[in-house]
Amino acid sequence: MDELLRDFIAETTEHLTVLDRDLVAIEQSPEDRGLIGDAFRTVHSIKGTCGFLGLKRLETLLHAAETLLGKIRDGVLPAGPAIGMLLGACDRAKTIVTALASEGHEPDGADGDIVARLELSARAGTAMPGAEAPRAPEPATGGPAASEPATPPLGAAGSIRVNLDTIDRLMAEVSELVLTRNQLMQMLRDRTDGEAMLALQRLSHVTSDLQESVMQTRMQPIGQAWAKLPRMMRDLGRELGKKIELKLEGSETELDRQVLELIKDPFTHLIRNAADHGIETPAERRRAGKTEAGTVTLAARQEGSAIVITLADDGHGIDARQIRASLRRGDFATEAELRAMSEQQLQQFVFHPGFTTAAQVTSVSGRGVGLDVVRSNVEKLGGTVELASTPGRGTRFTIKIPLTLAIVPALLLDCVGQRFAIPQTAVAELIRAGADHPIEWIHDAPVLRLRGNLLPLVALRDVLGFGTPAGERETLIAVLGYGMQRFGVMIDDVDDAEEIVVKSLSPLLRGIKLFAGSTILGDGSVVLILDPGALAAAVGTVESVEPPRAAPPLRHNAVPRSGGWLLFRAGADTPKALPLAAILRIEEVAPRQIEWIESQPVMLYRGATLPLHSFGILDHAPGKQCVVVVEQSGKTGGFLVDEIIDTVDETPVLDRTLARPGVLGVAMMGGRMTEILDIADGAAAGKGDAKSSRSAA
């Protein structure tokens, strides 16, 4: 294709997008003479080039649009009624340009319909010259069309059009240069050779500057990605019969074009979602005492090396009750779990894949459709999505994404002598476990108490399949944040921080979810990059909302909200708790009173056999024991106890991620992390015995 034509297509595509945006803006503020002038000049400029290139069809169409716009600009016609028609012409022009790009010539066809309507409207203007339409107090920014020169093409003002591939290649090469520079610096670190060091330093500076400049060429204002949104919102509003105002703030914020490209779809999705399900109909809004028009605000700003984008609507928000109802229906969580969940936790379910695809859930609010995809797309970029919603007031999504993907700061971790990189954005802090921060064990799961919260831990060597268990109590823990999840990764050591260029793995290794890619370090060695999301999955917290396959008894049991708890120790060190309401009495029992029916310890209690939950205590020659006798649904059972600690009157905040058969979960009680036992399991005692005896040993 002709170079001239190719440039024209690229330019016109951009111009038509701008025109689209301006027309929608004019519809909202029809008195804005400046905007009308802009739209007029855009159309005029494209039309001019069309004539030059002999694009007859496009020229005729745009000429008609220009005439109508001219009448509006001159105040002969009001803008309002004409906008729909002009948008139609804009759409047709886009169709023609698209065909032009693929075929190299204007497609066959006629635009008589549109042209006739445009001309008719324009004539209506001349038929009643100077009617009520107010004249502009001063002429719009330019003079009359005939004498006005076309807007200079983008290329004229000291800039050129560069193929994106060229810039991408340039970026890749600069990234390599940065790495080579790092490598050289490392090799020569201990040299004292003055002259060589001076040259190296200069090379280093130039490389950094070059990197910044090239990165700058890849930066684009986020407004470019937003250009199509006003039109989309307008059409959506019409389609849904809603009044929606779209506010864009910080559209000059610059972002790497690769990142921009990757967040386009997630944002389109979120905006559709807000219009479709967040904003109410005008009638509903009136009833709720709000203005008829809803507002969707999209705002971007830079925060250090990250861009923060918020999308807020003033609609009806996410109703926790509805989520609860659909969770119940969808079999996602048990009653007990639902009751224990905070509003915030419930709202997070909109990101859950199963939740969003379930058909019966979409009818509730529909608010979750595809949000899991939005989250995973953002997290793939090393970003995070947070959600806050107030019923009746609206919903706000806060998305944080790195400025650029080309070079990311990473932390190098050491595990069994091998180094691994992890993106620094994922690392919240580093903690040395030891006397101040002891690692505690709940069943087989290690946890760390951190500022009053329980931090689930995972050993990197286990995840990597190195097998050797981390026996020592002193270990380094990298606290990672992934979405709303926080967890710790036990590592051997931290090596260094380094800027890395992420390279994708070959197809042979792509199946290994744990690695997001690999990179070459300054010293030339290759290291693997850990995927924080995969690590989170390894902790098991990410899928904690799945039906509790491991703990079926949960389903029938609720955690009593209050009414007092008995805290005691049995077997392992971690205190255990039972609700006082379920306790019949506490008996003292000698070892000889305990008998065995196969592997089940039992004792005689009021003439009946009482099954005992022994927590492995009976494996170590015990002395006199206490037995807590509990009753539920007419069944009785006993829990063997080493030591009664206390009774407390607290409402536990249950963490279910560590639930297992017989244990509903873990909560802070009496100032210590405590396992809340499942009363029903007392009756079916002995189930988890083999396991608990192992962890107690």
Binding site: T180, I512, V526
Partner: protein, 148 residues
């Protein structure tokens, strides 16, 4: 397909042919970063002038006994689907030109692991050379399935 060149490589005394069209380099003594959780035949990753190369141990890939630790292996770098792979072999030998007519079909009684990656057999004077199809060699999924 009349006349293609193959590089001869040796593995446990047996000669294999690697299509020259796909060969990019021959290396020795590379520092290899192991990749945990990968297929047993994957030796790890290495840095070839700023490009990351996945190393595959052909002895393990073809079910041959492990190499004598004292023997230093050689690595032959091939390109497949835009990615580079280093095939770890015992030794790299000559290049032979092969005509389509001189090829023999892959014998049915050949070890299934070998048959899966063999394109044809070339009867050289010293003995039979198994000509390798690189795409199939690097497709480790079928072997994984067979193992499980």
């Amino acid at each position: 397909m009349s006349g293609r060149d193959f590089v001869l490589v040796t593995l446990a005394g047996q000669e294999f042919g690697i299509p020259v069209a796909q060969v990019r380099d021959v290396l020795r003594r590379q520092k290899i970063t192991p990749v945990p959780l990968s297929h047993p035949a994957v030796a790890g990753l290495l840095n070839l002038r700023g490009r990351i190369v996945t190393a595959v141990d052909l002895r393990r890939r073809l079910g041959l006994p492990p190499r004598d630790a004292a023997r230093e292996p050689a690595e032959i770098v091939v390109e497949q689907g835009g990615d580079l792979y280093a095939l770890i072999v015992d030794a790299v030998g000559d290049v032979v030109g092969v005509t389509q007519e001189s090829l023999e079909p892959v014998p049915a009684m050949l070890d299934p692991l070998w048959r899966a990656v063999a394109e044809a057999v070339y009867p050289a004077e010293r003995g039979l050379v198994v000509l390798i199809d690189i795409a199939r060699l690097l497709d480790l999924a079928p072997t994984l399935r067979a193992a499980s």
